[in-house]
């Protein structure tokens, strides 16, 4: 099938698929950011059970393959009388995995701040919350722009899991297998999806490095 044929027949489906992938990526990323921050606060808190639980959480979701997690959510949870829609299953999987990595990046970002700065802040009489707000957070946020853009791209790649369940509208990966089972889409069907994925990734990367150049702390 030629590009023009493919686009007239499936053009609107591709647009839908692109927006499905974008939307899934955006929602997962924001939720992952939120959970990642909470988990990170737990991991650096002085309360041992919270620390251990958060570390456990990170190890689980950092190391579980996406397919294994999705299968547990879709097929195993109903056996525990928890039935979620396919969309919810995908969203949970594409949120939990990036959230663990988000926490890892935040911890790594905090570790770039020299311990001497905390000691200096403390000797100025700053309270713990003041130190977090005025010393740690501004630096940690500014140095985590690049890891977070990488996380956003990684989240987008994870959303390809959506093609493993019947979703309507389909995502960018799902549409390719849909077209190829209904017609012989050939290479073109792949190339369009691949270009849309790679284009989005490059766009995210460019915006990220632009932002990073603006806010980075030169050391």
């Amino acid at each position: 099938m030629s590009i023009s044929e493919l686009l007239t027949e499936y053009g609107d489906k591709y647009v839908q698929a692109l927006f499905t992938t974008w939307q899934l990526t955006a929602v997962s990323f924001l939720l992952a950011l939120l959970i990642g921050i909470v988990i990170t606060v737990m991991r650096i808190s002085p309360v041992l059970p919270l620390r251990m639980a958060a570390d456990f959480y990170v190890q689980i979701f950092r190391n579980i393959p996406g397919a294994a997690l999705l299968i547990l959510l879709v097929y195993a949870l109903p056996y525990l009388n928890v039935v979620l829609s396919y969309y919810m299953c995908v969203l949970i999987a594409t949120t939990l995995i990036p959230s663990a990595f988000c926490s890892e990046y935040l911890i790594a970002g905090m570790n770039t701040i020299g311990p001497g700065q905390i000691e200096a802040a403390r000797s100025l009489g700053m309270t713990f919350l003041q130190i977090i707000r005025n010393v740690i957070l501004p630096q940690a946020v500014r140095s985590s722009v690049l890891p977070m853009t990488n996380l956003l791209v990684a989240t987008m790649l994870t959303t390809a899991l959506a093609s493993q369940v019947p979703l309507n509208p389909r995502d960018l990966t799902g549409i390719v297998s849909y077209i190829n089972t209904h017609a012989v889409g050939g290479v073109t069907a792949f190339v369009i999806s691949a270009a849309l994925y790679a284009g989005t990734a490059v766009l995210i990367g460019q915006l990220g490095s632009l932002l990073d150049r603006k806010v980075r702390i030169l050391r």
Partner: protein
């Protein structure tokens, strides 16, 4: 999929160690209260989960007794072997392609650099599943008959090679300029200069990152069920249809995957610590 980075667990003091002062009596009391409360909440959560298992009959011995049989483990072990084979094959192929991409990326020819950058960006921004569908749905249309092993190994390798190429390049860049100059002043050709002097040092530098990459490759091989390759996930499905024990088998398999990746990540961190420790001395 995800890129690992680990700076925690290294021997140097990190900011997390100095975040708090030694707590006074008041703070200690607060921490103790918070510890007890959080412990209670976590225990409640655990009990609730176990209760949910119990209420739905998932603690029934017939679901779990299959793990006492040797045949179950032999079968899962065979699957694991398939997983390891696919992961190793994909890692090696990926390393080979990445090596080529990296050499093009650092070459003085503009065209080669351009091709390499394009390919690296392309493979980095495309999900593994799309590559798998490419080999699964498209290769047959061209009359290309690949065995299941290569249908999973090639796409996983291709989707990893962009990142591996960048990792290798970061290693090459970490080798001091003086090493190139010293080799050049000895009259070495580019080939022997690169492969005998520069690359061995670069490779040692990137070992931790390469191990992290193996974790990603191993995770990606779980999509083997798409192409009907007998990896651990696929064998788990066979077990499930034989014993009608979906939840327990999938749970155990997920735990096995998590443990393997956990150990690999630990090895990666240990390798990075060894490297940094050596650098400091």
């Amino acid at each position: 999929m995800m890129r690992e980075e680990n700076k925690r667990g290294s021997r140097t003091t990190s900011i997390i160690d100095v975040l708090y002062e030694a707590p006074g009596p008041k703070a200690r009391r607060k921490i103790r209260a918070a510890t007890i409360v959080s412990m209670a909440v976590l225990l409640c959560l655990l009990v609730l989960i176990i209760l949910q298992f119990y209420k739905n009959g998932q603690l029934d011995p017939r679901y779990w007794s299959i793990f006492l049989r040797k045949t179950t483990w032999t079968f899962l072990g065979e699957g694991l072997l398939g997983t390891v084979k696919a992961a190793l094959g994909a890692s090696l192929v990926s390393f080979g392609i990445a090596m080529l991409l990296m050499l093009w990326r650092i070459s003085s020819r503009k065209i080669l650099r351009g091709i390499s950058v394009t390919l690296i960006e392309f493979t980095r921004g495309i999900p593994t599943l799309l590559f798998i569908y490419f080999f699964f749905l498209l290769a047959p249309q061209f009359g290309l008959k690949l065995p299941a092993y290569w249908k999973i190994t090639l796409p996983v390798a291709i989707s990893a090679c962009g990142v591996v190429a960048e990792v290798l390049r970061s290693g090459v860049q970490s080798v001091p300029r003086g090493q190139w100059e010293a080799a050049m002043s000895l009259g070495m050709r580019w080939g022997s200069m690169f492969f005998k002097v520069i690359f061995p040092q670069a490779f040692r530098y990137v070992i931790p990152a390469l191990i992290s990459e193996i974790v990603i490759v191993l995770k990606d091989t779980t999509f083997a069920y798409v192409v009907n390759y007998a990896d651990m996930m696929q064998n788990a499905r066979v077990l499930i249809s034989n014993y009608d024990a979906l939840l327990s088998v999938h749970l155990v398999v997920a735990v096995i995957y998590i443990l393997i990746n956990y150990v690999l990540n630990k090895i990666s961190v240990a390798a990075a610590d060894g490297r940094n420790g050596k650098g400091k001395r």
